[in-house]
């Protein structure tokens, strides 16, 4: 840029110098010569712009980890993965898979030895597909110097939970915050309720299971 400015100045000085030395030559140029040498030739780029070929970053993939409280079975570590497709700036669809372990019920602990579930059945897995809506998108501030882009979101969906050896229809709903650290990197905090019905402990009951998780996702 600087050198361009220098060139312009230089050109101006040379031009002024020429004017002063050869005023007649500049004042009366040969009309034929002028047409022969055009100043700058810029060939227009003939390619049409194809928006479909642009890099689109509507997918988000990541891992999550946290605590999940399973009614009657205590709280345990949960790990999982999530994939989201952002349809518009407001809506996204999301699939999530998670895995936790079931602790002992108070009955099992107090009875001294009775086991409701086998070791195998203590692994609980779930998957769900949900629709999410971004609410309160905007910048958040940390201290004076840091501004983060982010958004709260609400999600709700259906899925299946493998609980005590059976697959159960599960409704999930929750709220989370997505902090966009870079264009391609986001951090999540998520609180979700997984609701299913089971008769494992005698009567058919509705169980609420709260999951609290944090996660890292990549956009691609």
């Amino acid at each position: 840029m600087e050198s361009r400015i220098q060139h312009i100045f230089l050109a101006a000085i040379v031009a002024m110098g020429t004017l002063w030395v050869f005023p007649a030559a500049v004042a009366a140029p040969d009309p034929d010569e002028l047409e022969l040498e055009p100043l700058v030739v810029r060939e227009p780029e003939r390619r049409e712009i194809d928006i479909d070929r642009l890099d689109k970053e509507n997918f988000e993939f990541g891992l999550l980890g946290g605590m999940m409280s399973v009614e009657d079975f205590g709280s345990n570590t949960v790990v999982g993965a999530r994939v989201a497709y952002h349809v518009t700036e407001d809506f996204f669809v999301e699939g999530q898979y998670g895995k936790t372990t079931l602790g002992e019920t108070s009955f099992e602990r107090l009875s001294g030895g009775a086991q409701i579930l086998s070791d195998d059945e203590r692994d609980m897995t779930y998957y769900n597909v949900s629709v999410g809506y971004n609410i309160f998108p905007g910048e958040s501030f940390l201290g004076r110097g840091l501004a983060f882009k982010g958004s709260m979101y609400v999600v709700a969906g259906v899925g299946s939970t493998n609980f005590g050896g059976d697959d159960l229809f599960t409704i999930n709903a929750g709220v989370g915050y997505r902090l966009i650290a870079k264009d391609w990197l986001a951090f999540h905090i998520d609180v979700r309720d997984h609701v299913f019905e089971t008769d494992l402990l005698g009567a058919q009951e509705t169980k609420h299971n709260i999951e609290f998780s944090g996660g890292v996702t990549l956009f691609f």
Partner: protein, 262 residues
């Protein structure tokens, strides 16, 4: 043992669907992967607004003026990340598609920023959908992937998880779907298919064992075009389970859900 198999298959199936989904969207870009396409355009209106992020909640922090050449870097939903010269530096920001319409290519031509509309369904290649509903009294969740042979006929692979109070199961099937009127906003369709169904009684039920049976089905449904790539889909299917017992079992399935097309 069989329970584990069903679970194993279920998770693998979902994983496979997700992978396929990702692969499909990635496939188109494989060639462009190593040479990113970042075309230049010129602002034709007095100005366009640049936001700090891809959303209306992120503030406008810069405006590119008429005649500025801006380079389009990438797209997320309806936002474009652009780079403009600002003094001696380069400034990057996000511009909404409505504002991008105020730009021309370097030759001064209009650019088609594209808006997926109703008519694009007839030009779809892939369909991906999820729906839930009732399968003979049990809850069902279905994921499907369809490939359009032409605008009227789609071949479709479906995976359904059935979740009842007394048993659960998994159904996988191949289907042919016919759309007589793919251009209509409310478009009816017909489907036939065949597959396998695996049923597993719950652990609290005694004296019952897992079964795997063949299944054939026929159904009808309706697609309601919502916007962009979104379709609302409602369907009724009549399943015939070809059991090893004397009688075949008839099951009605009602479901509703969303689909995306590419």
């Amino acid at each position: 043992m069989n329970g584990r198999l069903v679970r194993y298959l279920g998770t693998r199936l979902l994983l496979a669907l997700v992978c396929l989904f990702v692969a499909v969207s990635a496939q188109a870009r494989v060639l462009d992967f190593f040479q990113t396409y970042q075309p230049e355009v010129v602002v034709s209106d007095p100005y366009i607004e640049m936001h700090t992020g891809p959303g209306r909640g992120y503030p406008v922090f810069y405006v590119a003026g008429q005649g500025d050449r801006i380079q389009i870097l990438k797209q997320r939903t309806e936002w474009f990340k652009v780079r403009v010269p600002r003094g001696q530096r380069l400034q990057e920001g996000w511009v909404h598609v409505e504002q991008m319409r105020h730009t021309l290519d370097l030759e001064g031509n209009q650019i088609d920023f594209g808006k997926i509309a109703l008519g694009d369904f007839a030009r779809r290649r892939w369909e991906l959908g999820l729906n839930g509903g009732d399968f003979g009294g049990a809850a069902s969740i279905t994921g499907y992937l369809g490939y359009a042979l032409n605008k009227h006929i789609t071949v479709q692979f479906e995976a359904t998880q059935i979740l009842g109070n007394f048993s659960d199961g998994l159904m996988a099937s191949g289907n042919i779907v016919m759309y007589p009127f793919p251009e209509w906003r409310v478009s009816p369709y017909f489907t036939i298919g065949t597959g396998m169904i695996k049923t597993k009684p719950h652990t609290t039920i005694v004296q019952a064992e897992d079964r795997t049976d063949e299944i054939v089905h026929a159904g009808t449904g309706v697609n309601v075009y919502l916007s962009d790539r979104f379709i609302l889909r409602m369907e009724y299917k009549r399943h015939t389970v070809l059991t090893s017992r004397d009688d075949n079992q008839e099951i009605d399935q009602w479901k509703a859900g969303f689909s995306i097309f590419f």
